[in-house]
């Protein structure tokens, strides 16, 4: 199944990525076609995997079963607020500040 440019636009839109930013219409079109081709190759690869014969194979739900086991419910304040705010592009008092959404 070929990935269409329309699908690329939709996915980019959902991910809030402007694929046309800084490009002429011709460049944007070429870029879109290239992305569609790359995505097509990835989806084709997954399609190939999904054709593998898995009869009698236990499903693997997570590649990292033993990573990050559950923890006890013990509260501990690990990070000073100031440290947490260090990466904030903007702040007001101890709030993160972002462009208005309302």
């Amino acid at each position: 199944m070929a990935v269409t440019e329309q699908q690329i636009r939709k996915i980019a839109g959902l991910a809030r990525i402007d694929l046309e930013y800084g490009k002429t219409p011709q460049e944007a079109e070429a870029f879109m076609a290239r992305l569609a081709g790359q995505m097509d190759a990835i989806v084709g690869y997954i399609d190939g995997i999904s054709k593998a014969d898995t009869a009698g194979v236990e499903p693997l739900f997570c590649p990292a079963l033993h990573v990050a086991p559950p923890r006890e419910d013990e509260a501990e304040k690990k990070r000073p607020t100031e440290d947490m705010l260090q990466n904030a592009p903007e702040r007001k008092d101890t709030f993160f500040s972002v462009p208005p959404v309302l």
């Binding site: 839109g13 959902l14 809030r16 997570c62 013990e74 304040k77 903007e90 993160f96």
Partner: protein
């Protein structure tokens, strides 16, 4: 005009009563300075590794057990992707398939009719932070971000606004009873979204539904759903079609309004969260949790009715919250007249609690006070009327009732020689009524009782007054 029936499903979100967040050890605590309780995990920083809180799994499983669900031995976390500033990672960690619990039900009673509402699923997920919308900027506080929630999704089995509110009340009572949530709706610990559609009565197909978001009180649930049903009926009668959309309830205007959102806003692109292993619940764990479950509100209510002789209304009032039922049973340990204690609690104590906005356990007037007041009535030391009159003062001061009535001279007059004088006085002052009574208007007895009570400031023993009056009026 065809008759319509409403088809309603609720999605209830309950904040889990844990000390730490769902995937990190940050404290779950509100009222702190903005961003005081955050770390790289709950602030959504790249590379941070989440670790699941065991207690959250236990509470979700217990909620499932209490709602007759199957608790899955294995469930998975997925990422639900969307953008909003209060969601720092760009996704919510939630469960799609399989969720921790599914296939449950809850029986809900409205106006003596009991109906079974299916519970589709219960899943674990993390909460978002909070936005403060200011001038020229939106300010973000992530203290709540990452707090553990369960979402309880019902089947579209609810048929009226009243039933929706009753369902929510029952869920609230159960979750608080088992200690899964504090149930504080004003602070958003329990909130729900309602999916509402209507269809002609008798039809089995579903109409187009709308979703009303973020209802945070029983009253708002009922009113929002009521309004939405009427609105949809109006649309159909005017020949318009219903638009599938998300709506918000405006509690001030009592209407739901459309939140026009982009068509693909609901394309969440769920995928399994690669950072989290499956949630495993062992059979032994589940058995232990089941054994730990307290008596549930409905069972307790039935016991109060069948074993203690309370009526439905009293039992319902006393079991709506676990703390109230516990309070009642503490009082019962000190005064065995269950009916009397229940009446005092339902008629006086709970009313005062509601008026003063105090939780029963926090009142200065405790279980020992209620028991003592009930005993005073039982012993004939005060009348129920006096108990009613002095209740607000007792409640506010926390004074012990026996000492209080003695000190205020409210002890009931049960001495017949003292009352005989008052009865004679009342009869002498009302010759016309006496004649009426003797002429057959026996209903006038209550008039005389009232007069005696007035003269004794309510302190006369009512049973004694009755018999004295009947005796005196019988004499010619």
């Amino acid at each position: 005009m065809p008759a319509y029936e409403a088809v309603i499903g609720l999605e209830v979100h309950a904040q889990l009563l844990t000390s730490s967040k769902l995937f990190c050890s940050c404290p779950v605590r509100f009222g702190d300075e903005p961003n005081e309780n955050i770390c790289e995990v709950c602030a959504g920083m790249p590379g941070a590794l989440p670790r699941l809180n065991k207690k959250a799994v236990e509470l979700a499983a217990k909620a499932g057990l209490a709602l007759q669900c199957t608790v899955n031995p294995m469930s998975l976390f997925s990422r639900k992707n969307y953008f909003y500033p209060d969601l720092p990672a760009g996704f919510q960690t939630s469960q799609l398939t399989p969720p921790i619990c599914e296939h449950g039900h809850l029986d809900v009673t409205v106006q003596d009719a009991t109906r079974r509402i299916g519970i589709t699923r219960i899943h674990l997920e993390d909460d978002a932070g909070k936005c403060v919308h200011g001038q020229g900027a939106t300010l973000i506080d992530l203290n709540r971000a990452g707090t553990g929630l369960i979402e309880i999704v019902s089947e579209p089995d609810i048929r009226s606004a009243e039933e929706a509110a009753a369902y929510m009340r029952a869920i609230h009572a159960i979750l608080v009873c088992i200690g899964a949530t504090d149930g504080n709706m004003e602070e958003g610990s329990l909130r729900c979204d309602a999916n509402v559609s209507i269809r002609p009565k008798g039809s089995t197909t579903l109409g187009t539904r709308t979703e009303i978001k973020n209802l945070n009180s029983f009253r708002n649930i009922q009113r929002a759903v009521e309004f939405e049903i009427r609105r949809q009926e109006g649309c159909l009668e005017d020949g318009e079609s219903i638009v599938q959309e998300t709506r918000l309830f405006d509690a001030v205007k009592q209407v739901t309004v459309s939140m026009r959102s982009k068509e693909d806003a609901h394309d969440y692109r769920y995928f399994p969260n690669p950072d989290l292993p499956p949630v495993l619940v062992l059979a032994e764990e589940l058995q232990a949790w089941e054994a730990e479950l307290p008596e549930l509100p409905e069972a307790r209510k039935l016991r109060f009715i069948q074993r203690l002789g309370l009526n439905e209304e009293e039992a319902a009032a006393l079991t709506a919250e676990r703390a109230t039922a516990d309070f009642f049973e503490q009082a019962l340990a000190l005064c065995s007249n269950a009916k009397r204690v229940a009446q005092l609690m339902a008629a006086e104590f709970l009313r005062e609690c509601a008026q003063q906005n105090i939780a029963p356990a926090q009142a200065a007037f405790g279980a020992a006070h209620v028991a003592e007041l009930a005993t005073l009535i039982d012993e004939g030391i005060i009348s129920a009327r006096i108990a009613h009159d002095i209740f607000p003062e007792l409640f506010a001061s926390g004074a012990m009732p026996r000492a209080f009535v003695t000190e205020k001279g409210l002890v009931q007059v049960s001495d017949s020689s003292e009352l005989e004088g008052v009865v004679a006085e009342v009869l002498a002052e009302n010759p016309a009524e006496v004649e009426g009574y003797r002429g057959g208007k026996t209903k006038l007895l209550s008039f005389f009782v009232g007069q005696v009570m007035r003269k004794t400031k309510g302190k006369a023993n009512p049973a004694l007054v009755n018999s004295l009056l009947e005796e005196s009026l019988g004499k010619h």
